[in-house]
Subunit: 231 residues, 2 copies
Amino acid sequence: MIDKREILAANPLLSGLPADVVEELMAVSVLKQLSDGECVYAQGDDGDGLFGVVQGRIRLSNSSRDGKELLVMLVEPGDWIGEVSLLDGLPRSLDAFAMGDCAVLFLPSARFNALLKSKPELYQYFIPMLCRKLRLALSYVEGVALFPLAARLAQRILELLRFYGVEDDKPGVLINVHLPQEDLAKMLGVSRQAISRELKRLEADGTIALAYGQLRVMNTVALQDELDRYV
Amino acid sequence: MIDKREILAANPLLSGLPADVVEELMAVSVLKQLSDGECVYAQGDDGDGLFGVVQGRIRLSNSSRDGKELLVMLVEPGDWIGEVSLLDGLPRSLDAFAMGDCAVLFLPSARFNALLKSKPELYQYFIPMLCRKLRLALSYVEGVALFPLAARLAQRILELLRFYGVEDDKPGVLINVHLPQEDLAKMLGVSRQAISRELKRLEADGTIALAYGQLRVMNTVALQDELDRYV
DNA sequence: CCAACAGTGTAACTTTGTTGACAGATTTTT
DNA sequence: AAAAATCTGTCAACAAAGTTACACTGTTGG
């Protein structure tokens, strides 16, 4: 058995929670190891619990019967997932898979419900989370209905930049996550070829620089301008 | 001054709330009349308050710089709108307009915040609302990324049917809301012509019957089948 | 170091949906 | 009842993106 306390001390998962709730979570949660590609939960499942990402990355996605996939979001250590099904009692609406080896903190739904019942003031911790996800989802609907692909791609690159951008010795800002064009395409709901074409266009502009599975933004302003033409 | 108490007694807006909160709302909220097309709030505004729809219909939408519009949802009497900006403190992400003459109950943000501060257990009343909207938004992103127009249209008609469907003396189920093809197109983010074509196809099948600004579903199963080919 | 694999660029062709235009139908207003 | 406004059906030209196919380039692991 791994020492949860040690691992979680340095993790933002529990920050902001009252001390007694943290103690409670320590007592009733389970640390689970997941290997690459393992399923955390699947679309249609009942909500069996809440998951906090401790290590690695979780991929939230959604697939159609004919095999097409939509990549809704990448979830990083420090974020909780699966709260919606616990809060509204409805089945999972997304698939969640481990990308690479992961560790998650699992809080079974019975424990979750008991905790909420004993401390209804905890409801408010979920409000910012739900608001953020709702706004994000709305901005995606908006984008896909109102903007051409070029603008949506710019929007998405800027988002990735805020999240994964790191300055290094080279010029520009590196998006420090392995993200093949295939995945970028699945995020935007278009074909890989369409993404390749647009990225090449941006590279020719000098707006970005491309490498194998990586992307470097050279001109943030140009991306913002592309987006502002429509927003 | 109109008597709020009388008007609201028959309205589902306040049902489910504790009696003391209802009293508080009665004391500090204002009943506002809106005429056709009047703006409730606009994208980018600060959240000035919470609105409860009492009479009429509110249109939540989103426009791009070049004039294209996305119709996110129609809000009916009994529903609250504008809670997200109050809960997370960020600007409005949608436009809200009155469709026809409306009456709304307005709770200014200062009052809202004071109420939440004095009764933090009220946070939990917003949870189901946010969950519902989040799931709906996700299903739209999913639809537009994974399904062809025909399936998305079927999905949307079924949704309208659940909400506005009424049985009458004629065969089939009438969708009892004035909804021109133009608006249906704006809901799905496509052109009016594309909607016209698809509706004609469904009419030729005998799946639906068309009238001027109205729609009657003759075969619910066929619509569900169209959707199930992809879900 | 080289084989296997994952990722990328490009092109021809097809499908889907847009745009603009207009005639006809239905409803509302005067 | 006539006029105005709204709504619908359809067409042709066009644009965007999907699909299929294949060569090529990096990366990883034995």
